[in-house]
Every structure is written in C-alpha cells, then in structure tokens.
Symmetry: C2
Subunit: 374 residues, 2 copies
C-alpha cells in the first residue's frame, strides 16, 4: 500500500456511519458513494456525459466481460479503459471471480478457476496473477483481489476453507500487482458465518491492501443475513481504511449498510430495473408501463432534478416503453442512476449534520421500504 487513499471526514453519533473521501488517480470520490455499473465498458444505454451529470463520481466495470470482449490487450492499446470508454473519472474493476464462479462446469483448485467462456469453447484459467494482469492492462483506478466467491447456502467447512484459500490468493495478488497508479483492494469472505467473517476480516485487514471489500454477498442471502455479515465483518476493520460492500444493492440494503460502516457500493439494479421499466421514486418504486400512468403529465419523481424528470412526463416515458423505443431505456436509466446519487448525497448531508440515523428512518418511511406503488 502506498499512501492511504481514504480520508475519514467524520462519523455519525448514533450509528457506525462514516463520511469520507477517496482520492484516486482520476479524481476524488465523496463517500458514502454508489457506483453505477458499466459492465462492458458502457453504463448501458447512457452516454458517459449523462452518467457524470447524475453526480456519479466513480463507475465499476467488469474484468470478466472485458477480457472476453474486446480483450484487455485492445483496451490497453487504445489507452486504457478511461480513454476507451470516454469516462475520465475514477473506475473500479472487479476481479472476474464473481462471474466465473457462477459458470456451470467451472473447476476450482489452488491455482485458480478453470472455465470456458462459451459452451464448447477453449478452456481458460483465471488465477490471481492473471486477474491482476488483466486489471493492470485495463488500468482502472482500483483493482480488486481475486477471491473465491462461494455460493449461498454453503457449509461452515466449505466457507472455512474458502476463507483460507482467499487469503492465500490475496497474497498472490499483492505479490503480482505492480501498477503504481492503481490501488488494490482485498476481498473478505466467510459466507454467513460470524466467526469466519471475523477471521477473514481480521486477516485481510492486516495485509497491504488500499481498501477492504465485503465479498460473497448479493448471492441470495437476503436482507437480514446481509446485515449480519456486515456487522460481523465491520467489528474487525480498522477505521482508517475504506470499506466497499460489493454488489449491494437495493436502497434499503445500502442505507442499512451505511449505518453499519460501509463506504462504497455498486449494483446493476438502477440500470437493470430501469431498462425493465421499474423506476425509483422517494415514495417507492413504480412500474412505468402500468395503465395508471397513461395520461400522467407529472415527471417520474416530482422531487427529482435529473434530465428525464426535468424534460419528460410519465406518460411519455410509458409511451416509449410500450412502443419499445430505445430512448425509454436511456431515460429510465438516467433517472434511476440520479435517484441513487441523490440518495447518497442525502446520506452524506445527513452525516455532516450528525443525524444519519434519523434521516435514514425518515427516508425509508417515505420510501415505504421499496414497495411497488402501482
């Protein structure tokens, strides 16, 4: 680890929530922060200019997808991921592990994971060293260690062994990562077992990572298990290191995890839900194709300042979805990403005013715990 990129600006009185700032090669990120996901070097259906306009400061892109298409060598040749995709702000790449561990027929051994990109395709091996090589070629601001991401449910024995393997792989990642203008975050595992989560956290925190990530969540463990995992992990984490909760998630999960000391988040939900016509509002989610919005001249969320809400009505967005017009996905994604950014900005402001817990409670009450209002 070089200089600690994370500055802890303040903590909440009534919770473990933290206000901080990450200083990265391509800019700073105010935390708590949410990263939109740009899987294949594009936040689906949204111009980078419009992603930036939502207030998103950092995005996530996927190593697995980019190694497959167009290949990391091409991205590197074209100046790296920032230049390739036209995003000048911070980027984080995952390790590829989450994707390959969910592939049918993958085989795990101490070296890494053997898998095929396509049925009948060539058998390739993703190892800690190979993941570092790809991520260094992509050149994001933050690379992630290659970990073993176990399914849910898993036995205590299996999760125990995977914690050890992930720690050994973490050492190999640190040993093979050399790019000085790129941070490397470690990933903690342990399934839903408090003792394993605590052991993984304590051991990973002692290693020379620039940040610490909670992995192995968003695999179907549910809201209550997620809180339990975050609690068991967080108790063992040093205060001065940034904490990243991977792949989470729904607004209620993010806010509860901020209260439990998590700093950064990513999830496909805002864009994936958006493309499917589910739109977030401060009063809960709505399904824009519903007939009740047919003649509705209001914006998706009357409190929202995004490009969609300041220019278009619910009736128009609904029309685009019903006629399968591509612009529907764009308008919905812009709105949902901005919704998440406004939520995070609200969290940061509440933290600055020392009232995160009260703010979260008010926010979740208004939101109705995410019920679909139509």
């Amino acid at each position: 680890m070089s200089r600690n990129p994370f500055e802890l600006l303040g903590t909440d009185a009534g919770s473990r929530a933290r206000r901080g700032r990450l200083t990265l090669p391509h800019g700073t990120v105010e935390t708590p922060a949410f990263m939109p996901v740009g899987t294949a070097a594009t936040v689906k259906a949204v111009l980078p200019r419009d992603v930036a306009e939502t207030g998103a400061e950092m995005i996530l892109s996927n190593t697995y997808h980019l190694a497959l298409k167009p290949g990391e060598a091409l991205v590197e040749k074209l100046g790296g991921l920032h230049s390739f995709m036209g995003w000048s702000g911070p980027i984080l790449t995952d390790s590829g592990g989450f994707q390959v561990f969910s592939l049918p027929g993958r085989e795990i051994d101490e070296e890494g994971v053997k898998f095929r990109y396509e049925k009948g395709g060539e058998r390739v091996t993703l190892t800690p060293e190979r993941s570092m090589q790809i991520q260094q070629a992509l050149g994001a601001d933050i690379a992630m260690a290659f970990d073993e991401c176990i399914p849910y449910p898993a036995t205590h024995d299996y999760a125990d062994a995977s914690v050890d393997r992930t720690l050994r792989w973490a050492e190999r990642c640190l040993a093979s990562h050399s790019r000085e203008d790129q941070l490397l975050f470690g990933i903690m595992q342990g399934g839903v077992f408090d003792d394993l989560r605590a052991r993984s956290a304590a051991a990973t925190a002692e290693m020379a990572f620039d940040g610490l990530a909670v992995g192995g969540v968003s695999v179907g463990e549910g809201h209550d298990n997620l809180k339990k995992v975050v609690d068991a992990t967080e108790r063992r984490l040093p205060k001065d290191r940034v904490r990243y909760l991977m792949g989470v998630g729904l607004p209620e999960d993010i806010l509860e995890s901020v209260a439990r000391g998590m700093d950064i988040f990513d999830c496909v939900i805002p864009t994936r839900y958006g493309r499917g016509g589910t739109l977030f509002t401060v009063r809960g989610k709505l399904r824009i194709e519903h007939n009740r919005y047919r003649r509705d001249s209001y914006p998706i969320d009357t409190s929202c300042d995004c490009h969609t809400c300041t220019h278009f009505s619910r009736a128009y967005v609904r029309h685009l979805f019903l006629t399968k017009e591509l612009l529907g996905a764009t308008l919905a994604s812009i709105h949902n990403i901005r919704f998440y950014q406004r939520m995070m900005a609200g969290a940061r402001e509440a933290l600055e005013n020392g009232r995160y817990t009260a703010w979260m409670s008010e926010w979740l009450t208004a939101y109705g715990n995410g019920r679909i209002s139509s």
Copy 2:
C-alpha cells in the same frame, strides 16, 4: 394560406439550387434542410437535446404511428407533440397516407382509405378530414395534406386517376384544416410520368397551400427516375413557395435534388443505417462491425465534430455493436444525423458563395458516390 413562411434568400448561378429560410411557429429553418425522423415521437435512441446539438432545426414525426400509439388525443391532452416529446423546435407531421397505402388489405375509395392497424383488428378509415383532425391535435408546425400515394410501378391510367383524386382530397384538406398556428403543405403525385407530374404540380401550386411537397417517391423508383420526377415537377412550381421532397434519402439523391430546386428533405436513413452499424463519412459509408476497425483509434469520421467523433474511437463503437450494447445505436445515430446536417450546412454555404454545383461535384467525388469503403 396566411403569410408565406418561406423567404428565398438566393439562388445558384449554375443550377436551380436555392438558399432560403422557413419561419415557423417554433423557430426558423435554414434551407436546404434535412429533417431527422422521429416516427413515434422520438428520434430513435437519441435524446432531443442531442438531436438539437447535431444542428437539426426541424424533425418529422409520423401521424400513422402516433394515432395508433399513444393516440392523438393523449398527445393533445399533454400539451401537443412538442411538449410531449420534449422537442421545442419546429416539427412536421406527415399525413399517415404513406403508411396506410402500403398496408396489406387496405381499400381505397373516394372517401379515403379503409385499413386495420393490426391483423384481425378494428377496421378504421383514414380520410382527408380525419388526417387533418389528427394532425391538428398533434400540433406540429407543418401538417401535410392527405394524398393517394401509388406504388411503383403503376400504369399511366392509374397514376392519372390518382392525381385527380389527390387534388380532390387536397381541397378537402384545405377546407377542413383550421388551426391557425399550423401550416399546411400540399402533396403532388403523378408516378414517374412527366405529363402527370407537370399537371399535378401546376394544379397543386394554384391551391392555397403554405408549401408544396413531391410525394410518391422513395417507393423504389430509383435514382434516375427520382431526378426525372423532380425535374418534371419543379418546372411548374412558383419560385416563392418552399418545396419539400418527401422521404429522400441518400446523400447523393439529396444533393442532386437540391441542384434541382428542392428545399427540405426527410429520411430514416441516417438513424436506420446507424442502428444497423452503417456509418456515413465524407469518404463514403463504412460498416463499423468490420474487422478492419478492431484496433482503430480514429473517430468514425476524422473531419466530424459530433459528440461521438469527439469522444469515441471506431474500435469502441465497434465493440458496442459487437456486444449489442444500446449505446452503439445512440452513438451511431448521433454521428449520422450530424453527418447529414454538416452536408446540408456545406450545401448552404456553397450556395451563399455561388458555387453549389462545383461544391456538389467535389463532395460527391470525395464521397465516392456512397460506396461502402469496407
């Protein structure tokens, strides 16, 4: 007709090309002008803000599609088409005729055209009066008369009768159109027959239309027939009226028709080709999915100033197409629309400098008459 909306600013020395200006309720349009098509109240895959950024001053939207979904009553209730789709500049709506005449099973009689929107659906009739009613509810700056658009090829007898019917329908359109903040253009027919085109032009020009449109082209008649039709029509047109060549088209057809005295144009080609991965450059069209662009760090067109060309490489746009990312359609459409606008701006500038014919010849030579360069 109220005041003539068209101002003839100048004419070319060596051709019939004209430089002009249309003054419309929602803004002015410098001619020769090209309108991108926004069929279902959206220029496919492009935000209105980005359509405006290409320099497009007016767009076309389709009466047939909007009457079907979401229905003109809804558009009217939501403040009209400009407000509904978030486009504050001029809009032209077609009459719906072009679409219904190509439907299988449609029946034409003196009243209008009977057809079904969907197989097994309710039988509806589109008449001159009904087309005016829909277009007035939509509230575009320019409405088009409801004409009989005949297929190609057609016999002289059939085309002759359709010229007369179109003239009778034109009278009915004028009689039933009452919206004072909307212009009404007449449409001239006559197939590929010089005598019929001349008769249709002369008779339509005597009617109280705000502009005159050449209809019944872009139906498969080909480049040479198109030139013949425009020539036969244009000879009978008053110089002071704006001329609109409907549904045309390819760059070479537009430039040749400007030379023959046409002022405004529309076509789905830039957006449809764009979504299919065919991109226009000043050196001809290219197929972005071609392997030759795999590592190509240049913009689509090195001379282009559009958002796509100033931010993204051919290799990146190709990657988006190969991975079927929605942003590919957006970037390609923005570029192609801007390409057409730059072409029209070049034509206007050449006209102002009195060298349209020479400019067109140079332009077409560089373009290679539209060959696909890969």
